[in-house]
């Protein structure tokens, strides 16, 4: 087992921290859209560069993606991707209730993504006595190559990454949005340190 793999306890601990964070993010989303958001158990996996690029291609049957970087203390950092289906983008405009001339659908998607990402990560950080800063959210074009390209521009080493996937399912409107958090190789060891500290308390 590589030093970068999470053991069972670390995985469990991370999942519980994520559960609490996604609970509050979905509450925000539910209030924002005035609807109910169905939550599933999040998936956490370790992926190498090739699987990462393959799995992202799978996620992207022509979708809109909003990417936002996060940076905390103790070397906790990574990239959050919010992934939407194109038919949902149109629905989203209705859901958000903006006037068409007010903001473009793209701006609305960026808005919503940033709310979800920062709510999630602020709650996550609060639980580990950390605090996050964020880069400006960026809407990536729907073509696959651009997302991979974008990730490679981030100057992280993606030979190995921790991939966390959370699905927010808005039941009333059959609207789906996946949040994918990518923790680059260099930050995994820092996450493990934090998880071990929490586990030591129990």
């Amino acid at each position: 087992m590589s030093a970068l793999n999470l053991n069972e306890d670390q995985q469990d601990c991370l999942q519980e921290l994520i559960n609490v964070a996604m609970g509050q993010a979905s509450d925000q989303l539910a209030r924002y859209l005035d609807t109910f958001v169905h939550l599933k158990v999040p998936s956490i996996e370790q992926v190498d560069a090739k699987s990462l690029s393959n799995s992202l291609n799978d996620e992207q049957m022509a979708v809109a993606v909003v990417s936002q970087g996060f940076f905390g203390y103790e070397g906790i950092r990574g990239e959050a991707l919010l992934i939407y289906q194109p038919r949902d983008s149109d629905r989203l405009a209705d859901l958000l209730g903006y006037e068409p001339e007010e903001l473009s659908v793209e701006e609305q998607i960026i808005d919503l993504s940033s709310i979800l990402t920062t709510t999630f990560l602020n709650v996550f950080a609060g639980q580990i006595d950390n605090q996050m800063s964020y880069s400006a959210p960026r809407l990536l074009s729907s073509t696959k190559s651009l997302v991979s390209e974008h990730l490679h521009q981030l100057s992280f080493n993606w030979d190995l990454a921790l991939k966390i996937k959370i699905t927010y399912q808005v039941t009333d409107y059959s609207f789906n949005c996946d949040m994918i958090l990518l923790i680059p190789e260099s930050a995994i060891i820092n996450i493990k340190t934090v998880l071990n500290r929490i586990l030591d308390e129990f």
């Binding site: 469990d12 609490v20 509050q24 539910a30 129990f202």
Partner: protein, 121 residues
């Protein structure tokens, strides 16, 4: 007093957090279940006074457990302890018969307050 208690949560950490927060005098016997199905098996075969129930779980989720408890007329006090804090979810579990909805991670004082309110302390 001494009540029989079942803690149902898929997370080991969450179970430990809760077990640590439980007042010592509450329980003579505390059991654990890691998903809804496991919890129901225990509830069907034993007399349990209090169930602390998570909602987002694999196999069978907390709402499924509450529905089964209602359908099978199992007599038990359920305290839902969940991170899914949407108001609609809170009303849903209360409508299904849960005594209380408590927000995760739950604090000892909050737990004490609600256990006292329902006569378990």
């Amino acid at each position: 007093m001494g009540s029989s208690v079942l803690v149902c949560d898929d997370s080991n950490l969450a179970r430990k957090q809760l077990l640590r927060s439980l007042p010592e005098q509450l329980s003579t016997k505390t059991q654990i279940a890691t998903n809804g199905e496991e919890a129901l098996e225990i509830l069907r075969s034993q007399n349990i006074d209090i169930l602390f129930l998570d909602l987002t779980m694999p196999v069978l989720d907390g709402v499924g457990v509450l529905q089964a408890i209602k359908d099978e007329n199992i007599n038990i006090a359920v305290f839902v302890i969940s991170a899914d804090i949407q108001p609609e979810m809170q009303s849903k579990v209360l409508a299904l018969g849960a005594k209380e909805f408590l927000r995760k991670p739950v604090k000892t004082e909050v737990l004490n307050e609600h256990l006292t309110k329902h006569g378990f302390l």
